[in-house]
């Protein structure tokens, strides 16, 4: 796996993109995600109304892969319903674990986040790419139980 396929311009730029780094007024869920072995952490904020993710944002620190993955995930889930978000979580995690071939048509649903399919060849960094998606999964699971 060459570095060019990992640190693509898209991933490098997205890791520094400030657009989704903010707080949400009236967030319905604030979830902390943490990789204790490396110290990376993100706080995901969601505003879920009537089963739809009306707004999403994050703050935190971490490597380019974890930060880009978080930002791309937010672009993808904003405006989607919770059910669709769960579907995307399953799809993304299957992709970075290498359970779905990189050229599989289903990955088109992941938009820019499909660029992280290269992580399947970089086992040491899968947890970086998956951090935000696991955090989202937890946030939505908690959200459901509150209803």
């Amino acid at each position: 796996m060459s570095l060019e396929n990992i640190y693509t311009e898209l991933i490098a730029e997205e890791s520094r993109n400030p657009e989704n780094r903010r707080h949400i007024d009236g967030a319905t869920k604030v979830e902390l995600g943490h990789n204790p072995s490396c110290g990376d952490e993100i706080t995901l904020e969601l505003k879920v109304e009537d089963g739809v993710i009306k707004d999403a944002s994050f703050t935190g620190v971490g490597c380019a892969i974890s930060q880009a993955s978080t930002s791309m995930m937010i672009d993808l889930i904003k405006g989607e319903n919770v059910e669709k978000a769960h579907h995307l979580i399953d799809l993304f995690l299957a992709m970075v674990k290498g359970d779905i071939p990189e050229d599989d048509e289903r990955l088109e649903e992941l938009g820019d986040a499909a660029a992280l399919s290269s992580m399947a060849h970089l086992p040491a960094r899968v947890k970086c790419a998956a951090l935000s998606w696991h955090t989202l999964d937890k946030a939505l699971a908690d959200d459901k139980s509150e209803k």
């Binding site: 640190y7 490098a12 730029e13 490396c38 110290g39 380019a64 970089l122």
Partner: protein
């Protein structure tokens, strides 16, 4: 010692792992602070033990078991000589420094600390000499206090002076920080601690492999280190403790080989050091540790220091010439730097730096280095660390720095 680095080339031949490739490139191993590679003599000692001498020591009354016991007890004597302890019964084998420090925190700290007592540690401790004291403080109601750092990374002398008081019962300090690589004045700290009646616990994990250690001269009450950071196998570590303290401490782990008599409701314990060595011990690891000490004795600490110093002198000016590199602990006002260089590349997370260096065959450490409070104190979430040993060469430094110069480009940033 201008030829010190030439000898590094010779030493390399004794280390099979240094001939492997990583990502199709000859490996540049600069993560010696995490663990060192092993010379053939250590690997042979391990194989020799399991291939020809393996039996349970201290138990069987047959020749092979006696041989295993001899190997184990000779290793203890080698360790005693190596760190200049008075008696081999003051040398306790453990799994690693973490276990050694936990032994002290549980069997001394939790037993003798009372509410209102104080434990003093430094902000530069590895989690293994920090978390056990935090837990001991919580369990006993003792207070945990920190010695902070001067601007140059050295321990604050003012803090040493002011924080160690009549209330202090334990002072726990690392001899060399695994992040900053600076040698701490443990002898002076021990003196101060003893003047108020406190015991001093020294974490020698990063010092024992690199500098000559004399526990009697520094007057440490307890001294802990791991074998694997000094050429030995993983899973063998050492706790040195003064006999008068070890004698009054209860056992840490209970079980086989640490008893004298066991009755239905009561047990009396074995003499030192067996009192603290429950269950079958890592004899193969002890054999490897003894071989590692033999190897280090041949190399000599004089040469180890000279090689690491030359590598520092070669690498640091090159790093300082790169405007996007930030260094930590590299500007000590004292002559007390060991071969650890902690750094960051501007705007690039250490894990991304590490992945990019990995693709060039260069192994460094990235992250919090099990020292989260220190990272926070330094104002960072994570850093990169290159750590040398005597088998590293100028070529290793060249390959590391060449790879480092690629990092910002790979991340689509300008130089």
């Amino acid at each position: 010692m201008a030829d010190a680095l030439k000898e590094a080339e010779d030493f390399r031949r004794n280390f099979p792992l240094l001939n492997i490739k990583m990502n199709d490139k000859p490996i540049v191993y600069l993560d010696n602070g995490a663990t060192t590679q092993k010379p053939e003599s250590v690997i042979r000692a391990m194989c020799g033990y399991y291939g020809g001498c393996n039996a349970n020591p201290h138990r069987g009354a047959y020749e092979l078991s006696i041989k295993a016991t001899d190997i184990y007890e000779n290793a203890r004597e080698r360790v005693r000589e190596f760190i200049h302890a008075k008696k081999s019964s003051e040398i306790i084998f453990t799994r690693n420094a973490s276990e050694s420090l936990n032994l002290v925190a549980y069997s001394y700290g939790r037993v003798f600390l009372k509410e209102g007592d104080e434990i003093v540690i430094t902000i530069a401790e590895h989690h293994s000499n920090l978390v056990p004291w935090q837990l001991a403080a919580k369990a006993t109601g003792a207070k945990l206090k920190y010695i902070y750092l001067e601007e140059d990374g050295n321990l604050s002398e003012k803090d040493i002076d002011e924080k160690i008081t009549e209330k202090t019962k334990i002072v726990a300090v690392t001899q060399v920080s695994n992040v900053l690589g600076l040698i701490n004045p443990v002898k002076e700290i021990a003196k101060k601690a003893h003047s108020v009646g406190a015991v001093v616990v020294v974490d020698g994990s990063q010092s024992v492999p690199h500098i000559a250690v004399d526990v009697t001269d520094m007057d440490a009450d307890f001294f802990a280190f791991s074998g694997h950071k000094m050429l030995s196998p993983m899973g063998i570590g050492v706790l040195y403790g003064k006999e008068k303290l070890l004698d009054k401490m209860p056992p840490f782990l209970a079980g086989g080989d640490m008893i004298e008599y066991v009755m239905e409701q009561d047990t009396t314990f074995a003499e030192l050091p067996q009192k603290f060595e429950a269950g079958t011990q890592n004899v193969g690891g002890a054999a490897g540790l003894a071989a590692a000490i033999d190897y280090i004795d041949e190399v000599t600490f004089e040469k180890i220091g000279a090689i690491e110093r030359e590598l520092l002198d070669y690498a640091l000016p090159q790093l300082r010439a790169l405007p996007y590199i930030k260094l930590y602990g590299c500007d000590s006002k004292k002559d007390n730097k060991t071969g650890i260089i902690t750094f960051n590349v501007k705007d690039v997370h250490p894990h991304d730096v590490s992945t990019i260096l990995d693709s060039e065959g260069v192994a460094i450490r990235a992250g919090h280095h099990c020292a989260q409070p220190l990272m926070k104190y330094l104002g960072e979430n994570a850093t990169c660390r290159a750590s040398f040993y005597f088998y590293n060469t100028k070529e290793d430094v060249d390959r590391w720095i060449a790879a480092l110069k690629k990092v910002r480009k790979v991340m689509h940033l300008e130089d």
